[in-house]
């Protein structure tokens, strides 16, 4: 069922890594208990910036989760055989990411004990209800798919016939999770930065760049750590996906820039001003946002020029840059700047506190822990597929 025993044996360094993760998780948990006792006042959030690092990280990782579709779709819809062996990695990445998303939401709640109220009083006009439905559904879909295909593979049998339709369902579902997550923000009056129809497409574009970029990094990491290699061709194909998605993402952001800046409507312009030049002397995000922009520009050069993209030394750098750039853009900038200036025209400040950062780190730890366990299982079950086409 879970093939867990594969994760219970490992080298010294494997156990050391898991121990480090466990320590990070434990630290985060201890600080979460403090937050539970003291209240969300322990974070840097305040009456003007009511959502911060937790929700921003949530948003970013919904994207990472949705990105699994970028390997599933070519394989199942276009019978793109190269991805045969790495779809499972994408699905497990999705499971880990969705789990992180749920933990981020949980960490952000003022009354976590009442979380079941969302189910007890289902409110169909609330996007948060639909986001919960789509995330939980996506987690379930990916868990079922990954389990069914992996068990079948381990047993040397073909997956059951019902698996294929479930996989096909997971494709639009992946799109839906990020669309609904964008709707969380895009439907709010009085938050001009988010009040844009392009938010959902932008979310998808950035997701399909950051998620596959992470997948490439993970594949390369696996190759480094375990001597099992994903076929080079598949990695190159994902790199192409990352390229197109990143181009689309940057294009959409430029559209936003144009609309906001050329129109000059203050409420649309000001959040961008806050992000990139600072507003009324508040410029905490500026260095971050410029870093993101510069990294995005570098990544475009590295990705678009085929010579660089196919260079095995440059590709991981490009992917890392894409990931960091989008992480800053979506995992910090977009959510925080949405609250600046406040509806009353006040320019508030938000700086995450240490407990907040450690809780976030703990959730990252959970995600990495889950991912390590899953990837360990995959590699234990089939060491050969990665090695198989290494020459290509």
């Amino acid at each position: 069922m879970f093939l867990v025993e594969k994760a219970l044996t490992g080298s010294k360094s494997y156990w050391r890594w898991m121990l480090i993760l466990a320590a990070v998780i434990a630290t985060g948990f201890v600080f979460y208990l403090r937050q539970l006792d003291y209240g969300l006042g322990i974070t840097g959030l305040n009456r003007d910036v009511t959502w911060g690092l937790y929700i921003a990280q949530f948003t970013f990782f919904v994207g990472v989760a949705a990105s699994a579709v970028m390997v599933v779709l070519p394989y199942y819809l276009h019978n793109f055989k190269v991805f045969a062996k790495i779809t499972i990695l994408g699905e497990f990445l999705a499971i880990a990411a969705v789990t992180m998303c749920m933990l981020f939401i949980f960490a952000d709640m003022g009354q976590p004990a009442r979380v079941l109220n969302v189910l007890l009083y289902p409110t169909l006009h609330s996007m948060m209800f639909w986001d919960m439905v789509s995330l939980a559904g996506y987690l379930l879909l990916n868990a079922v798919i990954a389990w069914a295909t992996l068990t079948a593979e381990r047993n040397g049998t073909a997956p059951a016939r019902w698996v294929k339709p479930v996989i096909l369902l997971s494709i639009p579902w992946a799109v839906s999770i990020h669309t609904v997550t964008a709707f969380l923000y895009a439907g709010l009056p009085g938050r001009p930065l988010w009040l844009t129809a392009v938010l959902a497409p932008r979310f998808l574009a950035s997701a399909f760049a950051s998620g596959p970029a992470l997948l490439i990094l993970l594949c390369l990491l696996i190759a480094r750590v375990t001597k099992t290699q994903a076929p080079r061709e598949s990695i190159q194909k994902i790199a192409v996906i990352v390229t197109y998605a990143m181009v689309a993402n940057v294009f959409l952001i430029l559209m936003e820039f144009f609309t906001a800046l050329y129109s000059g409507v203050p409420e649309h312009r000001e959040p961008f001003q806050y992000m990139f030049t600072g507003l009324e002397g508040h410029a905490r995000l500026t260095p971050w946002m410029w870093t993101s922009v510069i990294l995005a520009a570098i990544s475009l050069v590295l990705l678009i020029v085929p010579r660089y993209r196919t260079n095995p030394r440059l590709l991981p750098i490009a992917c890392g840059i894409v990931f960091v750039s989008l992480w800053i853009d979506k995992g910090i900038g977009l959510i925080v700047a949405g609250f600046v200036p406040s509806p009353l025209g006040v320019v508030p400040d938000y700086v995450p506190t240490l407990p907040e950062v450690l809780i976030v780190a703990g959730i990252w730890g959970v995600g990495m822990f889950i991912l390590t366990v899953f990837y360990k299982i995959v590699i234990a079950i089939r060491p050969e597929p990665f090695a198989g086409h290494a020459g290509a």
Binding site: G39, W51, G110, H125
Partner: protein, 245 residues
């Protein structure tokens, strides 16, 4: 299983449709189907006669056990004073005679409140009498309503509020940490046929409370005789707090 799923889908489709239809209807001006919609008119000039007066704020905070948190970032407020620049963000009152006058701000008890639309648990909802009410027993503290409210009328209890309540009013509960709160137009007083505490407390009678659906009410007479504005009407929320110029 199959059937209930279908039924579920049907229900959800219809309710989405219903919501959409209600919105469309609202767009064509048929919001006024309500018999009662409590509203408030704030006479800015009368209020400004006593620039230092905080009677309404004090009585509200006392009546509802609103904590006075010294840390501005964690402030909780139901009714508060701000500049026209902030109160009417997007409007230009720079050269107006009210440019420097204080403005009392509170929940607008909108016709189509975004906070109600987004709340995932119906912890906040619009009552029959138009008041945007809150159920603090049900609030999960997700703060979605705070992101949705274009007036910053909602406050979150970032910490336990009790240490910041000097003399508590036992008639009214305090809140616990982790829930959102806001002005409720004193539902507890309205049910007893009384006016909101702030209205009663104002020494200048600058706050006029009443049913805006009733053409003969004092507030309607006031609104029909005086120029007035609402906050951010362009967002379509339909505020029911009016500012008499």
């Amino acid at each position: 299983m199959n059937l209930s799923r279908k039924a579920f889908l049907r229900v959800s489709c219809f309710s989405l449709l219903g919501a959409a239809m209600r919105k469309t209807a609202a767009a064509f001006g048929s919001t006024f189907s309500r018999k009662v919609q409590w509203g408030m008119a704030v006479d800015i000039r009368k209020c400004a006669r006593r620039p230092e007066c905080t009677a309404c704020i004090d009585v509200c905070d006392q009546a509802h056990n609103v904590p006075r948190v010294p840390d501005k970032r964690h402030e909780v407020r139901w009714i508060w004073k701000d500049t026209p620049e902030h109160a009417f963000e997007g409007e230009d009152f720079r050269y107006s005679s009210i440019a420097k006058l204080p403005v009392m701000l509170m929940c607008n008890h909108c016709d189509d409140p975004p906070c109600v639309r987004v709340c995932p648990t119906q912890a906040t909802w619009k009552r029959e009498d138009g008041i945007v009410a809150m159920d603090w027993h049900r609030c999960i503290g997700c703060r979605y309503c705070m992101a949705a409210c274009p007036y910053e009328s909602r406050s979150f209890n970032w910490v336990d509020p009790r240490p910041y309540i000097k003399t508590a009013n036992p008639e009214f509960p305090t809140r616990t940490k982790g829930v959102v709160e806001k002005c409720t137009f004193c539902v507890e007083r309205i049910s007893q046929g009384r006016e909101p505490a702030c209205v009663e407390a104002c020494p200048e009678k600058a706050l006029i409370f009443g049913n805006v659906m009733d053409a003969n009410s004092e507030i309607r007479r006031m609104l029909s005789s005086r120029d007035h504005v609402t906050r951010k009407p362009e967002l379509g929320t339909g505020p029911n707090v009016f500012y008499l110029l």
